[in-house]
Amino acid sequence: MPLTFEPNIKDPDGFYDELLAAHQGLSPEESEALNARLILVMANHIGDRDTLREALKAAK
């Protein structure tokens, strides 16, 4: 499954809010840990190694 670079999230402003809300009140270290857990959860959902490799490349 190729990685999607087209808009794919409904209500992008709403999602952005939720993402920031998850970090509300966290120290930088706690935010860092939350981000790491979030990446792992989402990476497992994607599963496909080629897609994940493409995502790593896109994020660099």
Binding site: A33, A36, L40, N44
Partner: protein, 535 residues
């Protein structure tokens, strides 16, 4: 364990060689587990072998304690599995904890129908003693094997053909066709040849405390990340050995004062933290180790061949040190024997380096990954590691990422020079290039019936006669549990396997002609390998 170290297993005796310059076909330097296994295998095949060792006793301390199924299968072929199994502690279960929480549980051998367990724990000195007993028995039966204690090799000339050997009676010389360096990670032979040994150093210290106590913990490998005990460091391990000895291992970090940490009171403080104040135990052996992952570029240099820790070194997580060294010996013995007897060209020896380098790379990769998980090298790797441990407590998906050591399993030599055709659908575990899987037969186990020379295994068919010993099995008659069908036949009606002397699968077919098998045998004995140039 003091008494074990006291016996001189092969005390110095003056040899007639010391008054002349004798010629030997094979000299093995170093009588550790690898050198002795190789010597026993060669001598059982009738090839004379001389082992030189600077010492005459077993190694000091428990050292390697986990011996894998593949090692037991090799020991079985060589005739010393019984005492290992009788004395060793069998285990296959492990638990991983993060702080107080159990996050992961594993079973290394969920499959039945193997003669040997996934692992036994046994102090290395016992392994060495049983191996010497087997060598003594082989000698009594006429096997041409000699071990000389207090014979230290101090020099080599003519590319390893001539050796200087120092004994209590002074120096003597001998010449050899083949020289096998099984002289450990700090290999003096490697240094004498000026060969490099490059890799990664890991900046961490681990404290081993082997304690003797009566305790009723289960026979499982318990591993803690961020242990909840006082003074246990960043990780800790608890594992049972024979004689009521328990291996405790604490990850101390890089900047430590070794002398200080090894003081008995300081070791005891950590052990008390884990076992609870007031626990009664004796300290059997303590040691602090650091480790490296590295290997030689080539394991063969002309007549000189490196095996075991002298050729490659890994972290202890995964029990891939001694176990891979024993597999080196298993791989090399039949090849040397074939070349010395003129059954195969010298190029067969090059395939030892080819196959065991692949295994070393696999072991180093697994070991490096475990180490990166155990001792994160950067803030980012620490953050990701901690995230995995955190998620593993409540989510199954993260548990396979938790890495406290991926335990030793034998490597498949896919696509290597000696591997012939694979003409049987499915069954990836018994593909050409893989080690044979054991299976119960109507009488005994499959691996015991394969023995130690080339063999044709024919299932539900007769094999064409190519002058090799053949084991013919019928699944209707000889396969009471269905394991032979599941592991060697799958959906096929018939199967023919060509098995190597080290019980690896050289080639396999649904149906094979005599020409097919002869061609695969030529490949498997190195007749088709072009001789590579060596320095």
């Amino acid at each position: 364990m003091t008494s074990l170290f006291d016996d001189e297993l092969y005390p110095y005796r003056r040899s007639p060689d010391q008054d002349t310059v004798a010629q030997h076909p094979v000299v093995v330097v170093g009588a550790g587990p690898v050198g002795r296994t190789l010597a026993l295998d060669l001598a059982n095949r009738g090839t004379p072998v001389l082992v030189l060792d600077e010492n005459s006793r077993v190694s000091h301390g428990s050292r390697a304690i986990c011996f894998a199924k593949r090692t037991l299968e090799i020991a079985d072929r060589l005739g010393f599995a019984e005492p290992l199994l009788a004395k060793g502690v069998e285990w296959s279960h492990g638990r991983v904890f993060h702080g107080d929480n159990e996050i992961y549980e594993f079973d290394l051998l969920p499959e039945t129908g193997h003669r040997h367990p996934a692992f036994i724990n046994l102090q290395q000195p016992y392994f060495e003693i049983y191996l010497v007993d087997a060598i003594r028995a082989a000698q009594a039966g006429g096997a041409p094997i000699e071990i000389r204690g207090h014979n230290r090799v101090t020099g080599m000339h003519n590319d390893g053909a001539t050796l200087d050997i120092v004994t209590p009676d002074g120096t003597y010389h001998l010449t050899t066709d083949w020289l096998i360096a099984c002289d450990g990670a700090r290999s003096p032979m490697r240094d004498m040849m000026g060969l490099s040994f490059d890799g990664r150093v890991f900046e961490d210290n681990f404290l081993i405390a082997d304690v003797k106590m009566a305790a009723d913990f289960p026979t499982e490998r318990w591993f803690w990340f961020d242990p909840p005990f006082k003074g246990a460091g960043a990780s800790a391990l608890l594992h049972k050995q024979p004689d009521d000895v328990w291996r405790l291992d604490f990850q101390l970090g890089w900047d430590i004062d070794r002398e200080h940490e090894l003081l008995e009171e300081n070791v005891r403080a950590r052990v008390d933290g884990m076992l609870g104040a007031g626990a009664e135990y004796e300290l059997d052996w303590t040691s602090i180790y650091t480790f490296q992952c590295r290997r030689m570029q080539e394991f063969r240099h002309g007549r000189v061949i490196f095996a075991g820790d002298s050729a490659h070194q890994v972290s202890p997580f995964g029990a891939r040190g001694a176990n891979s060294g024993i597999q080196d010996a298993d791989n090399l013995a039949w090849k040397l024997d074939y070349v010395i007897k003129g059954h195969a060209p010298e190029a067969l020896i090059d395939t030892y380096s080819e196959e065991r380098s692949l295994a070393a790379d696999e072991n180093i990769l697994a070991s490096t990954r475990s180490t990166d998980f155990l001792t994160p090298k950067s803030r980012a790797s620490q953050t990701v590691r901690d995230a995995v441990l955190h998620l593993a407590e409540s989510h199954a998906f993260a548990r396979p990422m938790v890495n406290s050591g991926r335990l030793s399993t034998p490597c498949s030599y896919d696509g290597m020079s000696l591997i012939g055709p694979d003409r049987l659908p499915g069954l990836p575990r018994t593909r050409a290039g893989s080690p044979c899987l054991d299976a119960p037969l109507s009488e005994g186990f499959l691996l015991n019936r394969l023995g130690g020379d080339f063999k044709v295994l024919a299932i539900n068919t007769d094999a064409p006669d190519v002058g090799l010993p053949t084991l013919t099995l019928s699944t209707a008659e000889h396969d009471p549990t269905g394991a032979v069908r599941d592991r060697y036949l799958g959906d096929a009606e018939t199967a023919i396997y060509l098995i190597r002397p080290d019980q690896y699968i050289a080639a396999r077919w649904q149906k094979a002609s005599a020409t097919d098998i002869r061609a695969a045998l030529r490949i498997a004995t190195g007749q088709e390998v072009r001789h590579a140039a060596h320095v």
